[in-house]
């Protein structure tokens, strides 16, 4: 199986450990085999170990070590935010965040909705069973 996601300048990655957990960053330069210089519009450029990064499918078109302005412009051009939020990975993370931020009333509403959905599914199933047996 060939590799599809490469560490390259412009690769968008998700931080999966540490202080910046959950943040989308762009690999702006490679320091050495284990570390990259990483940048995002709302943080100071810093170095990160690759072990803390999960590479995504999104890349943007930048040269080595761009200025903050060029980086933000390139991210707009590549439409990173929308691409991320529409990707299945991004959507899952949004759902996870939503679920973690539910309060008790929301969980109650969720429970009712689940029961309702389960009831409808069972009704349809009963109908189909009846059709099949008759």
């Amino acid at each position: 199986m060939p590799f599809k996601r490469y560490v390259e300048i412009g690769r968008v990655a998700l931080v999966n450990y540490g202080k910046d957990y959950g943040r989308l960053v762009v690999i702006v330069d490679v320091i050495d085999q284990n570390r990259a210089l990483v940048d995002a519009p709302d943080m100071v450029r810093c170095q990160m170990n690759f072990k803390r990064l999960s590479l995504t499918d999104i890349t943007i078109d930048i040269k080595r070590v761009p200025t903050k302005k060029t980086l933000i412009a390139a991210m707009e051009v590549a439409d990173v935010k929308n691409k991320w939020e529409n990707s299945s990975w991004g959507r899952k993370l949004i759902v996870q965040k939503r679920r973690a931020s539910l309060n008790d009333f929301d969980r109650f509403k969720l429970m009712l909705a689940k029961i309702k959905r389960g009831g409808l599914v069972r009704q349809e199933l009963a109908k189909l069973k009846k059709q099949n047996s008759s």
């Binding site: 199986m1 590799f3 390259e8 300048i9 050495d32 210089l37």
Partner: protein
């Protein structure tokens, strides 16, 4: 930001003035150590090897630490600072170390954003590759090397503006140490 164990200090000292020598020469050294106390001690260690002076008949005139200057932070009043901690530099470090059979000189290259980081890399690499402990290493000289003058293949291979490589194994780690468990329900998927 990475916190470095090794700090760079600038230490200034001289022998105590005596009747024969009213104004002894002042010596300044740039050192790396984990704290100020060790820096002062190291200063006397090196000065003893260069001049006939000891801590008991010498005085410390100043000790300043080199800091990283971030553009968003206030500049702390210290003399040596890392001008650009977001720029990757190639550091060449010349050192003299004591092995089991004698003293040797060495030149090593490291890629890092800060000099303190490169020095820390050097100490850990010497410990791992040559089993040399930190007190057996003397740093002769450090310098930032422009990419053309780098000698080692392992640093030169990163001098590629279109660098591209895959990460071969995915590190499966819980996002915080609190969520660490001894047993997991399923085997990890290591494919990136």
């Amino acid at each position: 930001m990475v916190t470095c164990k090794f700090h760079q200090y600038q230490v200034v000292g001289r022998a105590l003035p005596s009747e024969t020598e009213e104004h002894p020469k002042i010596y300044r050294m740039k050192l790396w150590s984990t704290n100020e106390v060790r820096a002062k001690s190291k200063f006397w260690y090196f000065l003893r090897k260069l001049k006939k002076v000891k801590k008991s008949n010498g005085q410390m005139l100043a000790i300043n630490e080199a800091c990283i200057i971030l553009k968003l932070e206030l500049i702390i009043l210290s003399l040596i600072f890392e001008k650009n901690p977001t720029k990757i530099k190639n550091y060449g470090i010349w050192l003299r170390y004591q092995s089991r059979t004698g003293y040797h000189n060495m030149y090593k290259e490291f890629r890092d954003t800060t000099l303190n980081g490169a020095v820390e890399q050097m100490y850990t690499e010497m410990a791992s590759r040559h089993r040399v402990r930190h007190h057996c290493i003397q740093i002769i000289k450090t310098a930032t090397i422009p990419a053309k003058l780098c000698k080692r293949e392992s640093t030169k291979q990163f001098h590629n503006s279109k660098i591209k490589f895959p990460l071969v194994f995915k590190v499966v780690r819980p996002p915080s140490r609190k969520l660490k468990t001894t047993y997991k329900a399923s085997r990890p998927n290591l494919f990136m």
